[in-house]
Amino acid sequence: MTTITLKTRDGSVHEFEGREGRSLMENIRDAGFEELVAMCGGCMSCATCHVYIDNVPADVKLPPMSVDEDELLDGSDYRQPSSRLSCQVPLVAALRGIAVTIAPED
C-alpha cells in the first residue's frame, strides 16, 4: 500500500491508500474523487485526468512523458512543469508519500 496525498480543487487535502499496479488516475477515481473526470477511461485520449505531481521521493523518477502525453497536456490552459496525465503514471511502491493536486478544469 502506498499512501497518496491528494489536493482537490477546493483546496482540501486528502490522504488515502493507493493500489500499486494501477495508475494514479484509477487510484484517484476509485477513491471516489469525481472531479477527476478521466472520461476516456485511461487510454490517453481525453486529457481530463490532468494533475500536478507536487512531490515524489527524491530517489524516484516518474516514467517519462510520451510525446502524445506532452501534446495533450499542451492543450490545457493550466499546464505547469509538474503537469501529468494521471492515467499515464502507474503507482509503484517506491512512490511512497506521493502528493498530487487535481489541476483546474479547462
Partner: protein, 411 residues
C-alpha cells in the same frame, strides 16, 4: 395515507445505469440535490466504461474490475439507490409512475431516461444461428471472448468504429478476419473519405480482408451454427463466427408509447427536456432537436447531457453547448475527433496519411467545424479552438503542417 407511504417512490429516477445514467446520478448530488434518487439499470453490473469493451477488455489487456466508472461503494455513500438487473417497461406520465419488469410500480418526481440503445440486429435468413455476436454490453463481449479461442475465422459485418476495433483485436489474436461493409468505404457514416481510405489500408496491411459495397444476403449455417456469410455479390465467405456492428436502435419505446415526441430517439430541447413534463432524456437515445439537431453516440455527449439534465432538475437552466469529441483505438492508431462533421462541404488534409500521423479538417461554408486527428494529439488539442470559434481559415494555411493550428487561431 398509510398505503401512499408504503408505495415506493423517488424524487428522481434515472433509467439506465450506463455512462449517462451514472453521470446524472453523480451530478445531481454534486449540484446539491437533496431528494431521493434511484438509478435503475437493466445490466447486472455496476456502471462501467463501455468503450473499453471493444478495446482493452476484448483484447484481454484490462480486467473488468478496472472498468468501473465509480468505486463500488460510491452509490450508497451518496445515498443513491442502485437497482441492477431491472428493466423499466412502462412510463405513465399522468400518474408519474414507472413499471419495472417485475411488475412493481415506482413513482417519480423527475425522470431521466438514459437507456442508450440496443444493437441493430440482422434480420436476414440465418440470423438466429449460434455464433453471431454483438458488442454492446459486458455480457455480449464475454460471450464473444468465450467463443474466440475456437474460431479460426471471423466476419465482421459493418465497417464502423466498433466493428473495426474488434477486427483489429481479433487480428492480434491471429484470427482471420473479413470486414463486410454495405457502402463503398469504411467509416462512411462518421468520417471523410481520406480517413476511410487510410483505415482501409491499415486494416488490409494487418491482414484484414475487406469487402466494400457488399450487402449481406443471408447467413450460412451448419448444425445450427454459423458457417459463413453469403453476400449479394455472389460471394460466400466462410467464418466460424460473426461480429455484427451495424449501429444501434435507441431504447426509447416506453417513452414513445407514453407520448414523448421523437422517432430517432426521443426529442429533447437544449436542457435535455422531453415533450413530457418532468421527463428528461440523455445520451445515445436523446435527439437534441435544437442546436445540433442530431443524436450523438459518445461518452462525452452522454456525460455532458447528463450534467445538463441534472442541473436543470436542480433549477439551473444552462443550455447544452459542449463541443463534441470522440476517440477510437485500432492497432497503434489513436483517432481523436473534435467537433461534428455533419453537413461538411469540404475537407482539408493536414499531413501525409502515409506517415500514419495526419489530420482531416472538415469545413462548412468556409468555417472549421470538425477535425479527425490520427496519431496527432497536437492538432486535436489545438483544433478545439478552431471549432469552438468557428474559425475561417484559408485552406492552404490549414494544409500547411509547418504552421501549427495554434498559430492559425491567432491569425
Amino acid at each position: 395515507m398509510l398505503q401512499e407511504a408504503a408505495r415506493e417512490g423517488y424524487d428522481c429516477i434515472i433509467v439506465g445505469a450506463g455512462h449517462g445514467g451514472a453521470q446524472a446520478a453523480a451530478s445531481l448530488r454534486q449540484f446539491g440535490f437533496a431528494g431521493s434518487i434511484a438509478l435503475i439499470g437493466a445490466e447486472p453490473e455496476m456502471p462501467y466504461d463501455r468503450p473499453a469493451l471493444s478495446k482493452d477488455y476484448l483484447a484481454g489487456k484490462k480486467t473488468f474490475d478496472r472498468m468501473y466508472l465509480r468505486p463500488t461503494d460510491f452509490w450508497s455513500a451518496r445515498n443513491i439507490v442502485l437497482r441492477r438487473g431491472r428493466r423499466v417497461e412502462v412510463v405513465d406520465p399522468s400518474s408519474k409512475t414507472i413499471t419495472l419488469d417485475d411488475s412493481t410500480n415506482v413513482s417519480y418526481g423527475s425522470l431521466i431516461w438514459a437507456a442508450g440503445g440496443a444493437p441493430r440486429a440482422l434480420t436476414c435468413d440465418g440470423h438466429n444461428l449460434s455464433g453471431i455476436f454483438y458488442i454492446r454490453n459486458k455480457a455480449d463481449c464475454d460471450a464473444l471472448i468465450a467463443a474466440l479461442p475456437k474460431a479460426k475465422s471471423a466476419v465482421v459485418i459493418g465497417g464502423g468504429f466498433i466493428g473495426l476495433e474488434a477486427a483489429a483485436i481479433l487480428r492480434g489474436f491471429g484470427t482471420e478476419v473479413t470486414v463486410v461493409e454495405a457502402l463503398n468505404r469504411l467509416l462512411s457514416r462518421v468520417a471523410g473519405e481520406p480517413v476511410s481510405r487510410f483505415y482501409e489500408q491499415e486494416h488490409r496491411r494487418h491482414g484484414v480482408e475487406i469487402r466494400l459495397s457488399a450487402g449481406v444476403q443471408s447467413i450460412a449455417g451448419k448444425n445450427g451454427r454459423v458457417s459463413g456469410v453469403r453476400l449479394n455479390t455472389g460471394e460466400t465467405i466462410a467464418a466460424d463466427l460473426l461480429i455484427v456492428g451495424i449501429g444501434i436502435i435507441p431504447s426509447v419505446l416506453p417513452l414513445l408509447i407514453a407520448g414523448a415526441e421523437g422517432g430517432n430517439g426521443v426529442n429533447v430541447d437544449e436542457f435535455c427536456r422531453t415533450s413530457l413534463a418532468d421527463i428528461y432524456c440523455v445520451g445515445d437515445c436523446a435527439c437534441m432537436t435544437r442546436g445540433s439537431g442530431i443524436r450523438i453516440e459518445s461518452v462525452q455527449n452522454a456525460s455532458d447531457q447528463a450534467i445538463t439534465a441534472a442541473r436543470a432538475i436542480c433549477g439551473e437552466l444552462k443550455p447544452y453547448d459542449a463541443v463534441p469529441w470522440f476517440w477510437s483505438n485500432q492497432y497503434d492508431l489513436k483517432l481523436q475527433t473534435i467537433g461534428l462533421n455533419a453537413g461538411y462541404d469540404a475537407t482539408i488534409l493536414r499531413g501525409d496519411p502515409a506517415t500514419r500521423s495526419f489530420s482531416l479538417v472538415y469545413m462548412k461554408s468556409g468555417t472549421v467545424i470538425a477535425l479527425d486527428c490520427i496519431n496527432m494529439p497536437r492538432d486535436y488539442v489545438q483544433g478545439r479552438k478552431l471549432v469552438e470559434t468557428g474559425a475561417r481559415i484559408d485552406p492552404t494555411s490549414l494544409a500547411d503542417t509547418s504552421l501549427s493550428l495554434k498559430d492559425l487561431v491567432r491569425q
